[in-house]
Every structure is written in C-alpha cells, then in structure tokens.
Chain length 268, copies 3
C-alpha cells in the first residue's frame, strides 16, 4: 500500500481520472489516492512541472506521483519511472520531471517496457489508463521497480530549459508567469531563495518587481501587509515570487497572462 | 467493504457529492469512494449513460456505481438497483442504465422500496443523499440485495432509444456528438467495432467521416498521426469514434456542439 | 483514524487542497479525506459558513471539519478548534463557525497555539497547509485536543451578524441569496422551519415569495410540482428556502445575483 498522487490535464468533466483510479484499485485495493490537480492547462508541460515541484515534497516518503500531461501520447516518446529523494514518479518523457531531477540526487531512471504489467489492450490515446495506472498499482502493492523496464542513464531524460529563474550577481532576474492561481495571484518562476531564506523577506527589502510596465517596491510577507485592493509582491507558499492584490485579483489588476514577463531588480 | 463510484450532475461548487459520501461513511466507514465525474451537464441523462458505459467496466467486479442525474426527483419515477456483469448500479429509472442493460446479461433488477434502509427524513429534492447513498452503503458493508426492494422484470426498465449508432451493411452510419471532452475532442455515439477491432483502424481505412459539412478521410490511430493543428478521426479510448485536432480543439475547429450530427461512409 | 472533511476557497486548479491532504497523510496515513467543496467564492466567509451548516451534520460523530476560507491569513486573526455537537472543527476566527455555534451547545473552543504540532516552517500565506492540516492529523490519529492550545471563552468567537433570516410574528421575512447552486437554484438564508416542519410545505401554503420584483405564490414540495420551465419556491434539501425553475435555471430566469434580496410574506 502506498499513496498515489495525480497531476493531469484531464479536467474533471470526463471520466479519465476516475478510470485511472478504477484500474489502480482493481490491482491494489488498498492504494490511497490523492488528486493534486487535474486542471493543468491542456498539454502545458511546464505548468505541470511547476505543480509537481510544489506538491511532491509535502507527501510522505515512498509516495508514487503520477503525472499525465502527454501531448505526444501514442507516439514513440518513452514513459518513465523515476525514483529520487525518497519519492517515485511515473510520467511521459517530456520534461515534466525536470524540477525533480534538478533537486534530487541520486536518481534512478527506468523506461516502462514490460507489457506484462499493463492492461491487455492499449488504447493509443490513453497510456495513463493502460500503462501508467497499472504500473503505479504494481509499485503500490509492493512490486519491484526492476519489473517495470530497463534502467536508463539519468542524463538522458528530457529537460525543460528555462524552468527556474534565479538572480544574477547584481540581484536582477528576468522570469515569467508560469501559473495563475484561483485567486488571480501571478505565480512566477523566480526563485529568490539564493538571496534570502523563504519567509525572511520584508517590505524593506531593497528590491523592486516589474510587471506589465508597473513597479512594485519591496517584497512583502503576506497579503495583509498592504491595504485592501493594493498590489504586492511576496514569496508564495511554493517558494517562488508571486504578485498579488490584497483581497483582489492581480490577474485582473495587471491584465497579465500566463507566460508574460516579470522582472526583479535592486531598488535604486 | 466495496468500491462505490459516482457519476452525477451535481457539479463541484456545492456540497451535494460530499454529503452523499458523508452519509455512506457513516454507515460503512471502510467504503472506498471514487468520483468518476460530477460534471454531467445538468439533467443530461444520455451523457451520463455514456460516461457510465465508459467507466464501469474498468472497476473491479463487485463495485457499486451510483448514478444521480435525476430531473424527475421527487416525482413517482422509480429508483433502481441493477446487478449485471459482476457490477452493481443504483440510479433513477430514466434510461441512464441503458448501456449496461444492452451489454450485460443476465441482469437482476430491483426497485428501492425499503425505507428502513433510508435516512429517516427524505427531502423530496435529494434522493441521492437520502435514499441512494444509504442503500449503497448497505450493499458496501455486505448487506443483502434482497433487503433493498422487490424484483422487477428487467424488460420494464426505461431505455434510451438511440444510444449507440452502428454502421449498416454498406458501412454507413449516422450518429451524433454525445460528449465534448476537456480537450475539445468530439466524442460520438458511433461504434465501429462491428467493422474492425478497436485499435485496428488506420489512416488507410476506407472510410470517411463527415462533420459540420467537412470530410475527414480515414480513421487514424492516435493524435500524432497527423500534423499539429490538423483534424483527424480516431477510435477514442472509450471505443467510440471521436473527432480531434492534434494539439488543438476540434470543438473550436469545427464549431460543433453537443448533439450535432456526425456521419461515416465508405470512401469513394 | 477519523474522517476529515474540507471546505475551502482553493478551487481545484491549484495544488493547495492536495498538499493539505499530503501533509495529513504523512502524519495519519489512515485518515479518511472527504472534499465537501473547494469552490467557495474567493474569501466568501458567509457562503462557506452556509456550506458548513449544510454539510457537517451528515457526517458521523467524531468527524473533523477543516474550513479554510481565510482572507486574513498571516495577520493576527486566531485559528480555532471548536468541539460541538459531537463534531470537531478547525477554521480561522472570521465568523465561518457561526452556524455551528448557534446550533450546538455545549461547545469547547481553543486557539491553535502549539507550534510543536505544526510544520517546521510556516508560510505566512498558507496556514491551511502549515498549521491546520497537521493539527487535523494530530486529532485524527487520536491526539489530545488539550495539546492544540489554550481554551477560549466560546463567547469570544467572531460571529456573522445576519446569518439566518427567520419570519416575524406576521410570517414576513426579508432575506437574501447566499448561494447559487450548479443548477441555478437560488439558495436563500430564509429558514421557515419555525413555521412548519421541513417537508411539510405545499403549494397551498399561504405564503408568497418575492424576488427581483416578481411574486411566486406558495411553497412547493419538489421541482416537478410545476410545469417544465416554470419557477417555484421550495424548502431545499438544506432546509432553507430556495427559488428554482423546473428543468431550468432560476438564476437565468430571474437575473438574480448572490446577495440579492428575497422576501416572504403571508398571502393576501
């Protein structure tokens, strides 16, 4: 028995996620299933990678993380098993495991190549159900990772080039919005932790944040540090720079979309 | 202890699904609860029937499938228990069990008529919570089906007339879009399996698909069989003909809505 | 092991709810997790209070209800533990527990003040993950409530002033729409139970309902009591007055928004 978490772009109007769970429970009835999100923007591998980084570390060691954002399903792209940092991951080889590979060493990488573990009939459009779900259940019930398929060199994994943006020596960094959350908070890929420990920031911090031609002075600690309706920058709960509006939506306030540029520079 | 799956039109902004689970866990704390979907279009019995067909077969034998799409709640329509193909189903008698009845024989049909199993107070607008949930839990904890209510003749069940469209002798078939998935794939009720085994189709297949006045030649195997942005027809993971756009939305591409006609005919 | 239910405004596109579950399962792997809803309108404490009232009573005694709608996260507002009516609640002190306090006595109230139970690092923007989730898991695995923090006088809790509207001696009451459900039903805060037991209403009831300048005569039992497309008032499954359209959306029919006034008065 293990925890199996899910990050997909299946949405929730379809039966796709439920059917993956059905397959898993048919093999390991005691698996504990946790939805992280099924609302990744269709085929947005970068957003899924970002969600995975934010989520997996909070699960107990030994958890199995299933990531199915798979624009190339049915083509020759590999499906991977990765074991790193005490966690296990199953995902197509499209870069979505980049944040894990960049954080956790050593890592063990395998390619799913044992059809004996899969469903008997493979639909070319739903490897999540027919390959990944039964392999997750195999692992969950204590099956060996060796059975899944051959080892691959970790260096062979597909990586997203510009996943994380970090400041240069001057403290300047150019990043972008990788996710907009339910509250309209603009989540960037800017990691300021090399400059300051998370939570150590404050409005007196000698930085300014640039977005949509506007400037936000300083990095706040929480939303209530500014007045209602006022914009702020802060280190979000994921550890990345976010732009928010206290009691409102930064997305509406700034008119920003996913992918738009955000900069940080030392305050003059 | 059994698996209980849910297909409803409750949506997820309300507490309806959570409250059904609360009632079930109060009676059988070890029930394993799996959401298939709560996003059936309000009162769309045909779409719910389609989802049920796609989902239930992937669950282990003995699972209990709760389907609550119930436009006539509080009227005199019956609430049914169906046992067929190793699965158990609870649903109003409005046609939603049609695909099960058409696939699985023999079947046992009962009408829920034992208030001793129900909640003490029945709200006329929420039989899912007050009748169906406690009966599901009764079954889940090993209670007898006999207790639920009297046997009914299987032939008495309400059926959807035109649920599945199949080709005639010439290979032609006229069907319609019964569901549009999260990716904008147009899922039809056209079942080509009488012509070819699922997955055995290919772009060389001598068929053409007609939708919104346009023609798609052949039936592909997977999205990547055509270029990015190009439309294709394929046998989807549910076993029915779907129309898709590689890396895009067929719904947007074709301007098609649920219910619109789709045809298949032999290629000239 | 206990049931832990969730009511939040996190939405489902983000990993927030999944990460709370991850934290809980890391502490109590046998906790049973039930989503009531994550779709509370952002920071709408009144709507969350309403959902909580509708949901918690259906869970078995001993359940733990986590409510995270927390506009003031990171400020000095307290996070509370409430034990009342056989249930346990964890929520910020912003009024969201009002309906429980008004229904259940006696009650025990504590303030979360024991960092030894929390995650080692507290993000100022996500107390749900870093404080509430680990405390819920502490309780779920049988930990003592005493460990959580000191007792507070129950009277000190923040209350929503006008949560429930009840008729005056003449039978008239002025309330408002507190929630619009997935079907477009307008859920009000009007509680007619002091006049008649739930379910005892009927179209012959000598009341009329006023909304958006229109009058609905009588209180029906269920949707099918009127013709398709016709509006009606009824006592919804939550016990409050709702305005609905049989087979349609009252929201669209009346052009009403959350917060709009609804009145009830004796029929002339």
């Amino acid at each position: 028995m293990a925890i199996i978490s899910f990050i997909t772009d299946f949405g929730i109007q379809d039966e796709y996620a439920g059917v993956m769970k059905a397959v898993i429970l048919g093999i390991d009835p005691s698996a504990v299933l946790v939805d992280v999100t099924h609302a990744i923007d269709p085929q947005d591998v970068t957003q899924a990678a970002f969600m995975l980084e934010s989520a997996y570390r909070h699960f107990p060691a030994g958890s199995i993380h299933v990531v199915v954002v798979d624009p190339e399903v049915g083509s020759r792209r590999a499906v991977l098993f990765l074991e790193a940092g005490g966690h296990r991951f199953l995902a197509p080889d499209n870069g979505v495991l980049s944040p894990v590979i960049s954080r956790e060493t050593p890592a063990i990488l395998r390619r799913l190549e044992n059809p004996a573990l899969w469903l008997p009939r493979i639909a070319p459009t739903f490897h999540g159900r027919d390959l990944i779900a039964p392999v997750a259940a195999h692992l969950s019930k204590g099956g060996a990772a060796d059975d899944i398929g051959p080892l691959l060199p970790v260096a062979s994994i597909h990586r997203l080039g510009d996943f994380r943006a970090r400041p240069d020596a001057s403290g300047a960094v150019q990043g972008r919005v990788v996710h907009i959350d339910r509250f309209g908070n603009l989540v960037t890929n800017i990691d300021l932790s090399v400059m300051t420990p998370q939570g150590g920031a404050g409005p007196d911090r000698p930085l300014e944040v640039l977005a949509a031609g506007r400037v936000i002075a300083g990095v706040s600690r929480t939303y209530a540090d500014v007045g209602i309706g006022r914009p702020l920058a802060l280190i979000g709960s994921r550890g990345y720079l976010e732009i928010a509006v206290n009691g409102g939506s930064a997305q509406a306030h700034f008119g920003i979309r996913k992918g738009d540029a955000v900069g940080v520079r030392p305050r003059k």
